[in-house]
Each structure stands twice: as structure tokens, then as C-alpha cells.
């Protein structure tokens, strides 16, 4: 058996063996292995794509969520502001009303006081008139001998009739 001379028998057997090995491995090994690898790769690919999609969806949802939150916050502060304004308005109105009422009451009281004062004054005037009339009657009715005594009397009458 020489080194550089290809033996025909060995070529024959090698051909046969490689053909058989090729056919057997193709059918029983390479096909299932390569198919499985392909299936797994496409599966992983799909999973990655799905994950990516879900991630973008999530981020979208998150931003939507944040928007909603921000809106809600704005709305809340708006409502609070409005409520404060309403409260202030109500309080102010109430104050105004109270002030008005108080003023009205004061005015009425003043008016009443005036009325009473007037009535009192009228009464005083009437009383004074009556008194003057009475006194005049009395003075006129009494005939005094002297002037001094007359004057004295008048004064005593006057003293007696204190205006109040």
C-alpha cells in the first residue's frame, strides 16, 4: 500500500460510506436539527418582537396614564381654585349682607330713636304748653297785692314746674 497511489477499493468503500452517512445523517440528524433550530430561532425572534411591541404599548400606556394623571391634577387644582373663589364670594356676600343688614338695623333704630325723641319733644311741648296755660291761668286767677309777691310767686311756680 503506497502513500500517493489512491487504492481503487478504498475509493469504492469511501464513496459508499460517505453516501450512506450523508443520506442517513440528512434524514435522521440534519433535517430534524436544522428544522428545530429554525423553529427555535423564529420562535425567539417572534418573542422578541412581541416583547418589543408590548414594551412600546406599555410606554404608550404609561404616557397616557401620566397624561390622565396630569389632567386629573389640573382639574383638581381648578376645582379647588373654583371652590375657594366660591367660598370667598359667599363669605364676602354674607359679609356685605350682614353689613347692609346692620346698617339697615342701625338706620331703623336711629329712625325709631328720632321718632321717640320727636314724640317726647312733642309731649314736652304739650306738657310745657299745658303747664304754661295752667300757670298762666293760676297767675291770672290770683290777684296779688304787690308786685314783689307776684314775682315771687311766679318764680316759685317756675321752680315747681321743672321741665322734667
Amino acid at each position: 500500500m503506497e502513500l500517493l497511489k489512491p487504492e481503487l477499493g478504498l475509493i469504492f468503500w469511501t464513496t459508499l460510506i460517505i453516501l450512506v452517512v450523508y443520506l442517513l445523517l440528512s434524514k435522521f440528524a440534519w433535517k430534524p436539527i436544522l428544522d428545530a433550530l429554525k423553529a427555535r430561532e423564529s420562535h425567539i425572534d417572534n418573542e422578541l418582537k412581541t416583547a418589543e411591541r408590548v414594551r412600546t404599548e406599555m410606554s404608550q400606556m404609561k404616557s397616557q396614564h401620566e397624561d390622565l394623571l396630569r389632567q386629573a391634577k389640573e382639574e383638581r387644582s381648578q376645582i379647588l381654585k373654583e371652590a375657594k373663589e366660591t367660598k370667598d364670594a359667599i363669605v364676602n356676600e354674607a359679609k356685605d349682607k350682614a353689613r347692609e343688614e346692620a346698617a339697615k338695623l342701625l338706620a331703623e333704630a336711629k329712625k325709631e330713636i328720632d321718632n321717640y325723641k320727636m314724640a317726647a319733644l312733642i309731649e314736652v311741648k304739650n306738657d310745657v304748653g299745658n303747664m304754661v296755660v295752667e300757670l298762666s291761668q293760676k297767675i291770672i286767677q290770683r290777684e296779688l297785692s304787690n308786685k314783689d309777691e307776684h314775682l315771687k310767686y311766679v318764680n316759685s311756680m317756675l321752680d315747681k314746674s321743672k321741665l322734667n
Partner: protein, 363 residues
């Protein structure tokens, strides 16, 4: 492209040819070593010289028996079946041991001095024996089949499961062949040729590795095996060659008229030189590795014949170097499988219709 450097290749070839020349000289010697040992079996050994050339050749060439153990005159070897087809006498099948190492004739055949089977009447015959290399290939093919069948079963059981253990190891290799060797060359045709290229890759690799075992057969360092492998690639390229490829090759468009005939000649030659390069590269690389390891080990015995001390002294050096070369050979085993597969993929891609022609021009 992962070509080995040219000088390296020439060095290997040089060593291979030197060894070949050396062995021819040895073979020209009237007594074959095996013969010699037989002859000396009955006389006490005295002047028997260690013949490195024939020992090495004996180890790297094919044989009709599988030598397991050999020390002095004790040879334990497994005789293998011999299958001969004679055009005149028909088929004869017998075990190699019937020749009794050249002492006996059988069925009109005898062993000549070089231990080649010859017919007594000089009639032509075909030797289709199950030789050492054939048996080694059968064993490695069986290992290959059982290995990948068990891996494939794991995939079939649950294709979406993450790979583990053996499956994981081979998945890496299969994906390497698919994505790093075949896909860049064949692109959309990848899955058409992938089964062949995977088979070739693992077939060469496992035979390279098993060939490194002690007393194993040097299958991929046998030129008949590499010729067959290269022929497979050659026929695949021929059967898949497109009209466009032949048109491009035989008309050499865009080349001046004067240069055309030369270029066409070169291109036509390249059809045959490509597979030739494939077969020589694998053969030379694997044979060279075996040669170097065996040569280093032979040094021990050559020096040992001079004096025992020299033998022991040189053994340290020899062992260190042969272990180093052995490790290198482990790398070469996968590298040569890779190169063969890669170049096969390249040659196939060149003949396919939808290939860009950069590859062709690169040559």
C-alpha cells in the same frame, strides 16, 4: 480566506515527498521489515536495525490487518476480510490471515515481498477489501450517526427548549458551520447544500481526531479518501453549475481578445485544480502531522540503538516535541475540516446562478 501560508504547505509537501522517497528506497530493499521479523523469529535477535522509514510508512498507510500491539517479535493484529473480484475467476472473500504473513497462498492469490496481494496466474483483479481504513471509517461513521441521532432526538423531543449538554456542544458547531462557513458563501442556497457540507465537516473532523489515537487508522491522510471527498465536491459543483457560470468561464467577458484564450485555458484548468487542491491539502496536512509525530518518536529508537543513554536522553526532547505537535494536530484536525468545508462551499457558490462574481475574479 483561511488558506495556510504557502510556505507551510510547501514544507508539508516537501516532508511528505521526502518521506515517500525515503520509503521507496526502503521498499527497494530486498527484505520487507515485516518479512524480516518473521525470518528472524526463530533466531535470536542481534543485528536487527530499527528502520524508521518503513515503520512510519507502515503506520500511515492502509493495511489488510489492524495492528494493535507490537513488541519485538510479538505482533497482535486483527486480520481483516479481503474481498477480491477477478474478471476470470470471479469473487473471492477470505480473511487476510490465510496468507500467514506471506508464507501461504490462498485461492490463487499470494503476498508479494511488499505484502501486496497478487494473483498467481497474473490475471487482473479488483481489491475491494475491508481494509483498516474502511473499518475505521465504518466505526467513525457509526459514532457520527449515533452521536447526531441522539442529538437530533433531543431536538425532536422539544424543539423550543434551551440546549444542554451534548446537544449544546453540537449546536454550537452546527450553527458555526451554518452561519460562519455556509451562509456567507451560499446565502439563499444555504439549506440546499448544508446537509452535505455538515456531513463533510463532521466526517473529516471525526476521522482526523480518531486518526490521532494510537494504532488508529490514518483515514484522512490517505489519498484515496481525500480523492473521494474532493470528487464529491467536484461532482456537486458540476451538477449544480449554471449556464451563466459556463458562459462566463468560456467567453471571459470584458477581457482583451489576445488574453482571452489564455484566461479561458486557466479557467478550464481551475475546474480541476480546485478539487485537486482540496484533496492534496487535506492529505498532506494530515499525513505530515502523523509523519512528524512518528519521526520524533523514531528518533528515540534510532538513538537508543547507538546507546541506551542517548535513547533515554533524546526521549525527553522527542516526547516534548511530539506532544507539542500532537496538540497542534488537534487544532489542525478541526482546521482542515473547516478549510475543506469552507472551500467546498466557496466552489459551489461560484457555479450557482445568483452568485456575484467577485469570488471568481479573486482567483
Amino acid at each position: 480566506m483561511p488558506y495556510k501560508s504557502l510556505t507551510n504547505k510547501f514544507l508539508y509537501l516537501f516532508i511528505a515527498f521526502m518521506a515517500f522517497a525515503f520509503s521507496s528506497v526502503q521498499a527497494g530493499h530486498p527484505e520487507h521489515p515485516a518479512h524480516m521479523e518473521e525470518k528472524h523469529a526463530d533466531t535470536p535477535k542481534t543485528d536487527e536495525k530499527y528502520d524508521a522509514g518503513s515503520v512510519i510508512m507502515h503506520h500511515i498507510t492502509d493495511s489488510h490487518e489492524w495492528e494493535i500491539y507490537s513488541k519485538g517479535h510479538t505482533h497482535i493484529s486483527l486480520p481483516l476480510p479481503v474481498i477480491l473480484y477477478n474478471i476470470e475467476h470471479g469473487l473471492s472473500v477470505f480473511m487476510f490471515s490465510v496468507f500467514e504473513h506471506g508464507h501461504a497462498n490462498y485461492n490463487g492469490y499470494y503476498l508479494d515481498k511488499k505484502h501486496h496481494i497478487q494473483s498467481l496466474d497474473g490475471s487482473a483483479f479488483y481489491d475491494l477489501s475491508i481494509t483498516k481504513n474502511v473499518l475505521a471509517m465504518l466505526v467513525s461513521s457509526l459514532i457520527l450517526f449515533l452521536l447526531f441521532r441522539s442529538v437530533a432526538k433531543r431536538y425532536q423531543a422539544n424543539p423550543l427548549q434551551a440546549p444542554s449538554g451534548m446537544q449544546n456542544l453540537f449546536e454550537v458547531l452546527i450553527i458555526f458551520v451554518r452561519d460562519e462557513i455556509v451562509k456567507p458563501m451560499l446565502k439563499e442556497n444555504t439549506y440546499r447544500f448544508l446537509p452535505y457540507l455538515l456531513t463533510v465537516f463532521f466526517f473529516i473532523w471525526i476521522n482526523n481526531l480518531l486518526g490521532l489515537l494510537p494504532s488508529a487508522a490514518n483515514v484522512t491522510g490517505n489519498i484515496a479518501v481525500t480523492v473521494t471527498l474532493a470528487l464529491f465536491t467536484f461532482f456537486i459543483t458540476m451538477f449544480n453549475s449554471s449556464g451563466h457560470y459556463w458562459h462566463h468561464l468560456l467567453t471571459a467577458p470584458g477581457v482583451p481578445m489576445g488574453v482571452k484564450p489564455i484566461l479561458i485555458l486557466v479557467e478550464v484548468l481551475s475546474i480541476f485544480t480546485k478539487p485537486f487542491a482540496l484533496l492534496i491539502r487535506l492529505f498532506a496536512n494530515m499525513t505530515a502531522g502523523h509523519l512528524i509525530v512518528l519521526s520524533f518518536l523514531s528518533l528515540i529508537f534510532i538513538f537508543g540503538e547507538m546507546s541506551a543513554i542517548a535513547g533515554y536522553g533524546i526521549s525527553l526532547f522527542s516526547l516534548a516535541f511530539s506532544v507539542f505537535i500532537y496538540c497542534l494536530e488537534l487544532l489542525v484536525a478541526v482546521l482542515q475540516a473547516y478549510i475543506f468545508t469552507n472551500l467546498s462551499a466557496l466552489f459551489i457558490s461560484e457555479v450557482l446562478p445568483h452568485d456575484n462574481h467577485h469570488g471568481e475574479h479573486a482567483h
